[in-house]
Structure formats: C-alpha cells, structure tokens
Symmetry: C2
Subunit: 309 residues, 2 copies
Amino acid sequence: MDASSPKDFASRLSTVADEAEAVLKRLLDDAPLSGEIVRPERLLAAMRHGTLGGGKRLRPFLVVESAALFGVAQAGALYAGCALELIHCYSLVHDDLPAMDNDDLRRGRPTVHKAYDEATAILAGDALLTLAFDAMARTDVHPDPAVRSALVLELARAAGIGGMAGGQMIDLAAEGRFDKRRLDNKEIATMQAMKTGALIRFACRAGAIMGKADTATLARLDAYGVAIGQAFQIADDLLDLESDAATLGKAAGKDAAAGKATLVATLGAPGARKRLAELVGEAEAQLAPFGAKGDILRATAHFIAERRA
Amino acid sequence: MDASSPKDFASRLSTVADEAEAVLKRLLDDAPLSGEIVRPERLLAAMRHGTLGGGKRLRPFLVVESAALFGVAQAGALYAGCALELIHCYSLVHDDLPAMDNDDLRRGRPTVHKAYDEATAILAGDALLTLAFDAMARTDVHPDPAVRSALVLELARAAGIGGMAGGQMIDLAAEGRFDKRRLDNKEIATMQAMKTGALIRFACRAGAIMGKADTATLARLDAYGVAIGQAFQIADDLLDLESDAATLGKAAGKDAAAGKATLVATLGAPGARKRLAELVGEAEAQLAPFGAKGDILRATAHFIAERRA
C-alpha cells in the first residue's frame, strides 16, 4: 500500500477493523465457560451488544501497526489489541450508565443499559474488563510469558486509577458534581491524558514491548502515543462542537451543555486546531528513525487529527 | 501452632488478616499514580472505603496456607492473595449498588455508594478490579513471569463470565427479574459455585501454582477448594437465615425476602447442615497426602463450615 494515499490508508484501517471484529467475536463466542456452569446468556448478549458491530477499532490498529515496525507477527499483536479494545468497550458501557454520563445512544444504537438494564450493564462492563486481562495473559498474544506479564501490568496501569478510571473520576468532578472548582488548561490536558490518552499511549507502547524494542525506541513510541492521544481528544471535542446528532450517532453539543472540561472550550476552535497541527508534527518527529516503515503511523496521526466522524 | 486448637487457628487467621490489611493499605497508598496526573482523591478514598478496615481476609489466608504446603515464601503468596482480595472487594462494591442488591450497609458501615455516590462506587469497583490484575502481574508475587501469567489468567477466569460475574448474573435472574423460571437444586449449586466458589477455588489453586505442584496435587487443592467453596456458601445462607442484623452487620433474612435462590431454602436447615458435614469430609480427604502439613487447611474447612459470623 501507499500509506500517504488516503484511500489506501482507509482500506488498511478497515481491513484491520474487520480482523479485530472477528477476533472479538471469537473471544465472546468462545468465552471461558468451561466445566459445569449455567450459561449466563443475558450477560453474554449484553457483552456482545457493548463490543461488536462497530467502531474504527483504532486501538487494535495502533497495536498492530506499532508492532509491525518491529516485525512482530500480526496475529499476536491483533490479539493484544483486542484485549485492549475490550477495556475500551467496558469503559463505554459503564460511562453511559445513568449515574455516569447518562447516555441512551452509542453509535446510533441503544446503550447497553437501555437495551438490557442497569444491573446487566454494570456486570457486562465488569465481565468485559475481566475478559481483557484473560485475553492478554493467553499465549495467543505472545509465546514469552515475560512479555505477557509486562503487557498485563501496563494495561492495568493505563486503565486504572492513574489512567482511564482516574481520568473519568476527575472529569465527573470537573462537571461540578463534587466541588465547584473548575480545572485550568493544564489540568484539563492532564485529565484527558489519563481518561482517553492512556489507552492510546498503551496501544503504541504495546507494539514496542512485543517487539522487545530498546529503551530509546520504546520512548519514541511512547511520545508518539502521547501526542496522538492528545490529538484524538481535541479532535473529538471539536467534533462534539461541530457535528449534529445524525453524523455523530450521539447527542451533539452535549459536552458544552454538561459543562464538560475541554480544551476546545478554553482555547476556542481556532486555537484547538492550531494545537492539533502541532501535535501531528510532534508525532511525526518521533517516527523519523523508522523511515518509510513509519508511513502508516504517520498517516494515522493525520487521520486522527483530521477525522470528521 | 497447634492447628487443631481453635484458639491457635483463630490467632493464625487473625495474624494473616492483619498482614493482608497492611499489604492492601500499601497497594492503595502507593497506587500507581506516576507521571503527571491529577490525583483522583475521591476515587482513592472510595477504593479505601471498599477495601480496608475489616473482613476475615479468608481468600488471602487460603492462598498463603495453600502456598505454604509447597514451601512457597509467604510474602509473595500474601501479595497474590491481596490481588485476589481486591477482586472480592470490587465485587462487594458493585453488588451493593442500587441496580444490583441495593444494600446500604456492609460490615455495619455505609456501603460505598451511600458514603460517596453511585458514579464513584461504579468507578471505585472498576479501579479495584483493574488494580487486582496490576498487583498480580508484579514481581512481588513471584519472580517467574510464567507463574504470574498463569495466575492472571486463572484469576480472570475465576472472576469473569464463567465464574463470579456470570454467577452474579444468574443469581439476579433467579430473583425473577428477567424471567419467571426458578432454578433447580443443581442449578443453584452451580450458580453458587460460580458466584462465590470460583474465587475460593482459585485461592487454593493459586498456592499450588506458585508452588509448581504436579497435576495430581493441583487437582487435590482444586477439589479441596471446590468443597470449601460450597461449604462457605451454605454456611453463609444458614447465617442469613438465623442471624439478626446486629451480628451480621447487614440486613438479615434479606435473601429469603428477595426470593434469592439458596440451597438452605430448598434443602431446609437440617438438610443444609448435613451437606455441610459431607463437604468438610470431602475437603479433609483431599488433604490426606499432606499429613500434619495439612492441619491448617483442615482447620480452615471446619472454620468455614462452623463459623457463626
């Protein structure tokens, strides 16, 4: 493929998304239900509802493409990417709950607690979160248990108190639920780096870990991940501001209505676009040593910053 | 100690509980909050509320004592046991939620969503679940990454769709929330083996895995864990039937009021007590090859079956 061709890039992204969908479907169809059990069919159905049938699968794509830099076989990287995707999916199921962001729609479909009920949605999120670590510890990811242990540890850090879960807590607090203090720009960026950035950063690090990259090279993938993670969030906030509900498949302008802390709200749209361009530059700079091998990740940075949906 | 002395056993259980409390406190005080972050203090406080200050710490005790059969150093086994305990604690936080069992009290204190709020309780459970896998993947547990990977995988199986989370789903369904069909005795036993038994069984297997036991020996610890897991649930249901709220620290007779599926409800209290005695016998039989080394686990089986709180 010619990674600088938008059409070729879209085709590659779509191919990996299809492959990820197949792995996710298999992970749920062959859910670990061995021995004598009563099959919790309702829970499995809710987990499928929250996982299958949509999404760009950007996180699995990032694991696959960062691993490809190091010649890692795609099957294992895709499996690791799908473990990560399960974490992303659980977080959407829980974030949509009435006590959290109270969303009825996700990608144009009813959210899990609307399609089922709150108890089932809470359990489905819990079970997806648990299945993520199950999947990441399997030999399907990598034959070396040291690599699997490292991936489990880093995934837990990215998803936990110092990452996604902590960031979601701070985001809820920033809505003024628990105190009245507003976050400043630096705190908003930090909150977003935790809430959204940490999983994207992990995706990029995961490829380097699987490829047993040296420390300096791991640091480059890390910095690339940080930059595109920030870009992702700013692009998302711009989309929320500009899109209508039909395009986005969720209620638009909702962030502003909820008083959500975003950089777009404090920098304004032109300032946010300028920051986006800087971040793409930073991401590209990290890829310099990889030459042409880095083309897909370069194109990914542009895609993330410039996406319209 | 003389494990057949109830006083010595209680003292040993209490010592390990104190040690587990200290490790859990350290896991939360030193929560992985590295790099530039905004500390999610409210979330940390809710996680502490849901974890510290109580409980017999039976699961860490089982990991420590089953590991001791194989001469495994206590520090690593205790760490693994505390990772498991975090899973147990998350499940209590989520099970208490209004959409689930809707409990206001736990061990005589307000549940996490009463002390904080629902969103914080959901996130605290998520973060505890995530921290469990973080802890289990650390070298503190075991120097061999193959052992850590195996423990992560088995913990995820025990906690997930085919274990605790699946069992909780079936238990909710058995209340008649989603369909009217009642579970038969066999299905109730299976549901309980998933909901409560799986973590206890894992605790016993974990010691054998850390001790690199052969397959036949692992199977003995497994069967011991299955038996005491069933005994634990029956004893719990008997307690619910017989205790008043003051002793138990939670609303008593609540299971019957909610139409919960229990073996005590279908076998009657005398039938349930007979089954308890059989299960202790089964557990003891599995320990035969260990001779006097198995005394603490023998005493544990009796303790579980005969506990009054």
